[in-house]
Subunit: 431 residues, 2 copies
C-alpha cells in the first residue's frame, strides 16, 4: 500500500513573465553551456524559460520550446554538449523600418507568451538584432528587457575581452596543429614536407593566430601563419615556405579562411557564392595554397580543413572558455531581471598572468556591427606569425580542460533534450 | 662532508647484443606507446636499445639513436606522445635479389652495432620488409631475430584482430562526426544541409566504417557511409542524400578517401600522382562529393578533411588501443629474446562483449602483403552503412580514454626526446 499526499507538491513560486532564450549564428562547443547557465539561473529565480527553435526564426514562427520539461540533470548535461540544443539560424533582421512586419510579429509573439526578458545569444549580427529588439520594445511601450549574450569562435566582438566559444576553438586549433606537426616532423624525410591547416575566421585572424600557441620560436610549428589582417603575397609566402623547409626539414602553415590579396580578392574565391548573411561563402584556401606549393616548389604537401570540427570539439574545450560561457549566461539573467535593456554581459580582463576576469554590462550599441580585428601589435613584423603580446593575450584563453563525462561506449555523453513544443496561440506567420 | 662510494654504482648487467627498433610508414597516435613499451621491456631485461632515425633509412645510413640517453620519465612520456619520435619513412625494399646492395648494407650496419634483435614497427609494407630481413639473416648465417610489430590506422593487417593506431583514429572519427553532426543539426534550417567528412583508408574502409559508431538507426548521423569495398554510384548516392535531407532535415556523409567507381577510377583522382610506395596519391573526395551535391541537389554543403589530425590525435586516443600498442611492443621484445625470427605479435580476440584479447605470435609470411578489407557481412545491404556485426567488432576498439597529462599552458605534455646519435662506424652509404 502506498500513501499519496493529498496536496500537490509545492513548487517554487514562479514570477510573472517569461524569459525567452534563443541561439543565433554559427554554434560553438560551449554555447549550450551558456544556455544551461541561463536556464539554471532563471530556475533559481523562479522564472519560466522558453527557448526559440532555430533562433529568431522560432520567435517569429512561434516555435517555442518549454525548457521546464527538461530535468535538472539534462540541463547540467547540456552544459557539456556541443552544437545548439534548440537550433540556431543565420537570419539577420534589417532596420526597424525595413523589416517592420517581422518586428511587429516578434512583439506579437512575445506578448502572446508574456515574454518580459529576451536573451539573444550570438555574434555581431545577433548583437545588432538584440539592439533593434531592445529599441523596438522601448518604442512600442511593451515592457521587455532585451539582452545580447556573447558567442562566437571568431572572437571578433568589440568591448569584451574574448567571446565564449573562441577559447575552445583556439585550444582545438593549437592542440591539433601541435599534433599534426609531430606527424609531419616524423615523416618529412621521405613524405610530406609542407602541411597546411585551414582555420575559420572570415575577416579576423584570431583563430589562426591561436595556432601560434602550438609552438614558439622560428623552428617550431606552426612556421607560418597567414592572417586576413595582412594582404596575402604569394611570392613572399612561397619564399618563406622554401626557406623553412630548407632550414627545418618541413613546414607547417596555418591559414585563415579569410586571407585576401592586396587588391581585396579572397584567396578562396574559386567557388564564389554568398551565405544568407550576405557574406562571401569561403573555403578552399588550404587546397589552393597546397596546389601552389606543389606546383611552384615541387614539394609534397598535405592539407587539413577541419571545418565544423573546430567549433564543435567539446571534447577539447578550454575550461576557461567553458567557465566564461556559463558566466555570461548567468549574468545575462541577472541583468535581465534588473531591467538593463539593450546591454550585453562582457568579459573584462584585469590581468594576463594569472588571468583575472570579471563580467560587466556593456551597451549593445557599442558592440553591434563592430568587428574586432587583431591589433597590429599582435602580428609579427614579417606578417607570418604572432608577437609576445598576442601570446600573452591568447594563452589564458585555452587554459584548463573542461570536464566531460564519457560513456562505456567510449563516446562523450552528450544529451539530446526533449524539446517539447509550446502550444501555439497565434496564426502562422510567413515572413 | 659527503661520503662517496669507492665502487661505481652497479648497474643492471647488460646482455650481449643490441636491439634495434625502427618505425615505418604513416605514424599514429600510439606508435610511440609501442616504442616506449619496447624500450622499457628491453631495459628491464638489460638489453641496449638503439632506434633507427627515419625507419629503415636510418638503418641503411647508419643513423642510429642511443635510447639509453633518455630518462625513464622521458620514455614514459613517450607513451602518450603522438607522431613518430625517431622519425618514420615511406621506403619499401624490393626482393632480396632486386635490392641486394641495400640488404647487404643493412646486414653490415647490424653487424657493426652487434644488433641481434631487429624490431620493425609498421603496416603491410613494413611486415614485408621485416619478413625479408628475417630471411636474409637466416640465409647469411648472421644471428639475428627480426620481429614485425603491427601498426596502422588503416586496420588492414591480416591475422591480427586489429592494428594499434586504428582504435584511436576510429575514436577520433566517431567523436568528431558526432560533434560535427550536432553542429549541422542546429544550423540546418537556414544553413548547411549536407556535411561530408573524408576519412583516411586507401583500399579498406575501416576508418570510415568506425564513424558508424557515432550514431545508430536511420535518422542518426552519419546517415551515409561510403566505403571503398563498394563501387561508388553517384546517382544512388545523390538520391540517398536527397531522401535523408527530406526526412531528417540534414545529412551527414562519411566518405573514405579510397572510394572508386565500378570501373575502378578513384573518385579523388583529380590530382593524380603517386606516393613513394607507388600508391595513388589520394585526397579531395569530400570536396568532389560536395560539389556534386551542391550542383545536382542545390543544397548548401560543407566538408571536412581532417587529414593528419585523425592519425595524430593523441588527445582523443582509445584506452583499448593504447594498451594494445604497448602490449605488442612488450611482446615483440619477449618474442625477440626467445629467438622467434620472422613473426609478429598479433592481437587475438576471444570475446566481443566484454572485449577479451591476448597477444600471440603469427608468422610474418601470413601477414606481409595481405590486405584485410571489411568483410561483406560488415556492410549494410544498401552499401551505405555498417551492420550490427561490424558494430560488435568495432565498438570495443574505441572504448576507454587513454590518460594524457596537460600542462598549465592548456596543451598536452608531449615529450621531445634528445635523440642522441650513435657514433658511426662505417663509411657513408648512398642507396
Amino acid at each position: 500500500m502506498s500513501l499519496q499526499c493529498p496536496f500537490p507538491r509545492a513548487g517554487r513560486r514562479m514570477r510573472n513573465g517569461t524569459l525567452l532564450y534563443a541561439q543565433s549564428g554559427g554554434v560553438t562547443a560551449v554555447i549550450n553551456a551558456t544556455a544551461a547557465a541561463v536556464i539554471e539561473q532563471a530556475r533559481a529565480k523562479g522564472i519560466k524559460v522558453l527557448a526559440a527553435r532555430n533562433g529568431i526564426l522560432g520567435a517569429l514562427r512561434e516555435e517555442l520550446i518549454d525548457t521546464s520539461k527538461e530535468s535538472a540533470a539534462a540541463i547540467r548535461a547540456l552544459a557539456h554538449t556541443p552544437g545548439g540544443a534548440f537550433g540556431s539560424c543565420r537570419v539577420k533582421l534589417k532596420s526597424l523600418d525595413a523589416d517592420r512586419a517581422r518586428y511587429d510579429r516578434l512583439l506579437e509573439v512575445l506578448r502572446a507568451h508574456d515574454v518580459r526578458w529576451f536573451l539573444y545569444n550570438g555574434g555581431n549580427d545577433s548583437a545588432d538584432t538584440a539592439l533593434k529588439v531592445s529599441q523596438l520594445a522601448k518604442a512600442s511601450g511593451y515592457d521587455l528587457t532585451c539582452i545580447g549574450v556573447p558567442k562566437t569562435i571568431d572572437n571578433d566582438l568589440a568591448v569584451t575581452d574574448t567571446c565564449p566559444g573562441f577559447g575552445s576553438a583556439a585550444k582545438y586549433t593549437a592542440v591539433s596543429v601541435r599534433e599534426a606537426a609531430l606527424d609531419v616532423a616524423a615523416m618529412a624525410e621521405t613524405s610530406t614536407r609542407v602541411f597546411i591547416y585551414e582555420a575559420m575566421g572570415r575577416h579576423a585572424g584570431w583563430l589562426a593566430a591561436a595556432a601560434g600557441l602550438a609552438g614558439n620560436g622560428d623552428d617550431e610549428a606552426p612556421h607560418i601563419i597567414l592572417l586576413p589582417e595582412r594582404a596575402y603575397d604569394e611570392a613572399a609566402f612561397l619564399a618563406k615556405v622554401k626557406a623553412v623547409v630548407e632550414r627545418v626539414g618541413y613546414c607547417v602553415v596555418v591559414a585563415s579562411e579569410g586571407i585576401a590579396t592586396a587588391d581585396g580578392r579572397f584567396v578562396a574565391d574559386a567557388g564564389g557564392g554568398k551565405d544568407s548573411f550576405g557574406h562571401s561563402q569561403l573555403g578552399g584556401v588550404a587546397a589552393h595554397l597546397a596546389g601552389r606549393v606543389k606546383d611552384q616548389l615541387g614539394l609534397k604537401v598535405h592539407w587539413a580543413l577541419p571545418d565544423y570540427l573546430q567549433r564543435s570539439a567539446r571534447h577539447l574545450a578550454s575550461r576557461t572558455d567553458w567557465e566564461q560561457a556559463q558566466a555570461v549566461g548567468k549574468a545575462a539573467v541577472q541583468l535581465a531581471l534588473k531591467g538593463q535593456n539593450g546591454v550585453m554581459p562582457v568579459i573584462v580582463r584585469s590581468s594576463d598572468a594569472p588571468y583575472r576576469w570579471k563580467i560587466e554590462a556593456a551597451p549593445l550599441s557599442k558592440i553591434a556591427n563592430h568587428e574586432k580585428k587583431m591589433p597590429a601589435g599582435f602580428i609579427r613584423r614579417d606578417g607570418f606569425g604572432i608577437t609576445a603580446r598576442a601570446r600573452a593575450y591568447l594563452s589564458p584563453l585555452i587554459k584548463g580542460e573542461a570536464p566531460l563525462p564519457y560513456g562505456a561506449d567510449g563516446l562523450p555523453k552528450y544529451v539530446t533534450l526533449k524539446n517539447v513544443a509550446v502550444k501555439q496561440k497565434l496564426p502562422p506567420f510567413e515572413g
